[in-house]
Amino acid sequence: MAPSLSEYKTDVHNDWCPGCGDFGIVNALQMALAEMGIERDRAAIFSGIGCSGKTSHYINTYGIHTLHGRVLTFAQGAKLASPDLTVVAVGGDGDGLGIGAGHFVAAGRRNVDMTYIIFDNGVYGLTKGQASPTLKLGEKTKSLASPNQNYSVNPIGLAIASGFTFVGRGYSYDVRHLKDLIIRAVKHRGLSFLDVLQPCPTYNDINTRDWYAGVDLADESAQRHSRIYKLEETKYDSKVSYASESVLHEKISQALIKSLEWDTKIPIGIFYQNELISACTVRMADKIPNYLENPPSRQRISDNSSPLTDISKILDSLQI
């Protein structure tokens, strides 16, 4: 029997600030795992360093809290050695798009079959509110002495330019929607990326829950109450459904254009999805036919401490 939702929770004391958007994400993740019925010991959550990095301790599956910026590297290694594990990597926007941006780009190219979720709060939470790479140029959150000096990176655009085959965005206070997104992402065959808008009530007083809810816009227009809207409620079709260069380019460019929306209209949902590009695990199987049935982590290497690998043919070829 699949575990119940509560079984995915640990009894570790959660020390995020009251009202932190991170709670919604961890809840959505636990709900997604439960809904998919993934056995607790068949899943591994990898996390980076930051407030967000503590996530892995709150989920009762294998949980690996790695290093700042390196979460994707650990996670990919585990998945490549053990392709039948469900692997989810999570981390902050500083973690993934600042110090970890190089791995982000490379992971996109590699397309390992797993999911990466960025907790996008515009700040470096755990180090007390410095600007993260997603904070817009010139914005000054309350924790900054002067306005942000850097242009913001576009996580969706970056993911697409890097080759991610599933790119979506969620909102941490829309837990059900996020849960569904996570399920889609985990089920995607290839590397899926979710940029999750995550208010940090402690340090980011610009992109707050109210701001996302459009409270400041309400005066201007009585109609709209939220900046956020769902792509799936529009005609937007994210999927590359057959292998043609023109379809591919069309889907990529619509996603890139969509990713530029911000300010008063912020789309969430799936921006881009392409299962026609093979996952890295599949590419491995092209080279090593039995890779998926007999992956590194399952191979028998010894029998009673005697090595089983037979290199005699190689040695023969070296014999003079």
């Binding site: 790695t66 290093l67 650990f74 290694g77 690998t309």
Partner: protein
């Protein structure tokens, strides 16, 4: 007297020096000789000078000597750079078309060398041309064998009616080899066989080369006499000819390493390339196995992926060199605090920084020992030669698993660019000990449970019932973050205690090897072993007994054992390929004993046994400096 013959081939990078040397080595090995070959090359793809020295002997040999017996050269640079190394009685086969070439016309001769060359030629009253250099050699008792390589090609073309041969200067290497083998009287058949083997995948190329070989080999007869010959001796069974990275590569396969992540870097990446080209493995009584070899975006990713893979219970490793290792030190500490067994094969080259990226050095020892912030346990282990490195690789994985600890396996560029004969590797001498790696779990599981010896049974990602957490933060027994001061002490003590365990449990014979201890005793580590062993033999042949202790386990340092081994040594000579005498520092730090003399080399070229012999000789005769600096090698 026993045969002890050194052959040198040189040429611009990309001109086939390496395959030429390969053929020569195979032929000599097949003829029953011991081979010690070494390649020197620039950090360059095409055009800079590269050369190979192959020492051939009936005796066991472990290094190069200063002198060259026979040199073969098809470019001017090789002559300018090496004419002075050929000893009296030796010979130089060269392309007679080069005779007029002036030193300054060879653009790849760098200024410092050119200045030295000119001073040297001037002092010998020789003109600054190939002829000048050759005359200098002749005056020194070297026999010159001019050959018009161009005419040879033309002759071949005429003979076979294949006009394309006329311009195949690509075959100059094979011609040089064949002339050499003919001159020394080596039987021809193994030559053709070797060519066939080396070009096995390109039959057309093999055929043309064999043709050239036959033609040149028979031409050699016209060259006249040569004082040395290599007629071949009895073939030796169970001998293999191996390149530097075969030891660790094959060791990894046998040890059951199934995951290797790496980022390209000289001289480490050959190993990964080799592993990948043999990624599918035969497994006894089972379906094929495989090594997942992953080229990463950088070395930070390489170590991260390796750790991720190791957490699944897969034996995992990476291979890198100094700059890459520097980038791994943060994650190394993560593996340390999380007790993850990983093996880093560290092929050292000359630092600091990019340094001499294709040259030799043993200068990462102290960095490896103290790498990573904070106190955590690791093992640093060094192999002294290629054969050793095969078995040591097996040990390193066992250490990693048994002590749940990162292991740094020290190799270097001298080893990696050597080509040697040795006893066929015996996989059955490698045993696999995975330590407390669990196959199933009953009851509550705590990854970092307190145990009497500080080692906790280890689960792996995906194992039923074995859920654990890891964190780079200090953690409790489950692996959850703690900041409690007492838990902290418990965990620090638990992790650090394994350093004592390592020293207690690893057999002494794996920690250090004594090759005899005398009044004067040499101490060293890693690849300096080869030249030292040969120098030791030479000293003995001259009636001088000098001891030698090779330290293999560098961290934790076997202070008690080394102290004991060195008890009979009055005068300690520390021999290393670095500037600061790093082993000497480690020795002093751990035993309170300081080397009396240092023989150091940091030109990026490996030591020869000859120069080592000279320095040790001088030490014993009181004519040496406290710190001898070796300089041999172009």
């Amino acid at each position: 007297m026993m045969t002890d013959f050194t052959w040198l081939i040189g040429g611009p990078q990309g001109s086939g020096v390496e395959s030429g040397a390969n053929i020569f080595s195979r032929v000599c090995a097949a003829a029953g000789y011991n081979i010690f070959g070494k390649r020197e090359f620039y950090s360059n793809i095409k055009g800079e000078h590269s050369y190979f020295t192959v020492r051939v002997s009936e005796k066991e040999i472990h290094s190069n000597v200063n002198d060259v017996t026979l040199m073969t050269s098809f470019d001017a640079e090789t002559i300018f750079r090496h004419f002075d190394e050929v000893s009296a009685g030796g010979g130089i086969i060269y392309d007679s078309g080069l005779e007029q070439t002036e030193t300054v016309k060879v653009r790849t001769l760098d200024k410092p060398f050119l200045d030295r060359l000119h001073r040297r030629l001037e002092s010998l009253d020789c003109p600054f041309t190939v002829t000048g250099a050759l005359n200098a050699a002749r005056n020194n008792g070297v026999t010159l064998y001019p050959v018009s390589f161009k005419s040879l090609l033309e002759g071949m073309a005429a003979e076979s009616g294949n006009e394309r041969l006329r311009n195949m200067i690509r075959m100059y290497n094979v011609i040089g080899v064949s002339l050499s083998l003919g001159l020394v009287g080596m039987p021809a058949h193994p030559l053709y066989k070797s060519i066939g083997a080396i070009f096995a995948k390109k039959p057309q190329v093999a055929q043309t080369n064999e043709h050239a070989a036959r033609y040149a080999y028979s031409h050699a007869r016209q060259l006249g006499e040569f004082a040395h010959n290599l007629p071949g001796i009895a073939q030796r069974p169970d001998t293999i000819l191996v390149q530097g990275h075969y030891g660790t590569s094959l060791g990894k396969m046998v040890a059951g390493c199934r995951f290797q992540s790496y980022y390209p870097i000289t001289p480490a990446s050959d190993e990964s390339t080799y592993l990948e080209s043999h990624e599918i493995l035969e497994v006894r009584n089972d379906r094929p196995g495989s090594t997942a070899v992953i080229q990463t975006e950088d070395e930070i990713s390489a170590i991260g992926m390796m750790i991720g893979a190791a957490l699944t219970g897969t034996r995992s490793s990476t291979s890198t060199s100094g700059p890459g290792f520097a980038l791994m030190t943060e994650a190394l500490g993560w593996a340390g605090i999380n007790e993850v067994p990983i093996v880093i094969t560290l092929y050292q080259r000359s630092g600091p920084s990019t340094g001499l990226p294709t040259r030799h050095g043993q200068d990462d020892l102290l960095f490896a020992v103290f790498a990573g912030h904070g106190d955590f346990a690791k093992i640093v282990y060094a192999s002294g030669d290629i054969e050793e490195s095969f078995y040591d690789t097996g040990r390193c994985f066992n250490y990693a698993d048994k002590y749940q600890i990162p292991v740094i396996h020290m190799m270097d560029k001298f080893l990696s660019s050597s080509v040697v004969t040795c006893k066929r590797f015996d996989p059955s001498r490698i045993s696999i000990d995975r330590g407390l790696l669990l196959e199933e779990i009953k009851g509550e599981y705590k990854r970092f449970a307190a145990t009497p010896n500080g080692i906790s049974p280890r689960s792996r990602l995906g194992l039923a019932g074995g859920i654990f957490w890891n964190t780079g933060d200090e953690s409790d027994e489950y692996g959850h973050i703690t900041e409690d001061p007492y838990m902290r002490i418990q965990m620090m003590d638990k992790r650090m205690s394994r350093l004592d365990l390592v020293l207690d449990e690893i057999p002494e014979s794996e920690q250090a090897v004594s090759f005899g201890v005398s009044k004067y005793t040499m101490i060293s580590w890693g690849s300096a072993k080869g030249p030292i062993l040969d120098a030791q033999t030479m000293l003995k042949e001259n009636g001088i007994d000098v001891g030698f202790v090779q330290v293999k386990l560098l961290h934790p340092f076997p202070a008690e054992l080394i102290g004991r081994l060195l008890a009979g040594a009055d005068t300690l000579i520390d021999i290393e390929a670095n500037h600061s005498g790093q082993l000497g520092k480690l020795l002093l730090q751990n035993t309170g004993r300081k080397p009396d003399y240092y023989i150091l080399k940091y030109t990026g070229r490996a030591m020869t046994c000859t120069e080592l012999y000279d320095s040790v000789y001088n030490i014993i005769h009181g004519t040496a400096k406290h710190r001898e600096v070796l300089t041999r090698g172009a």
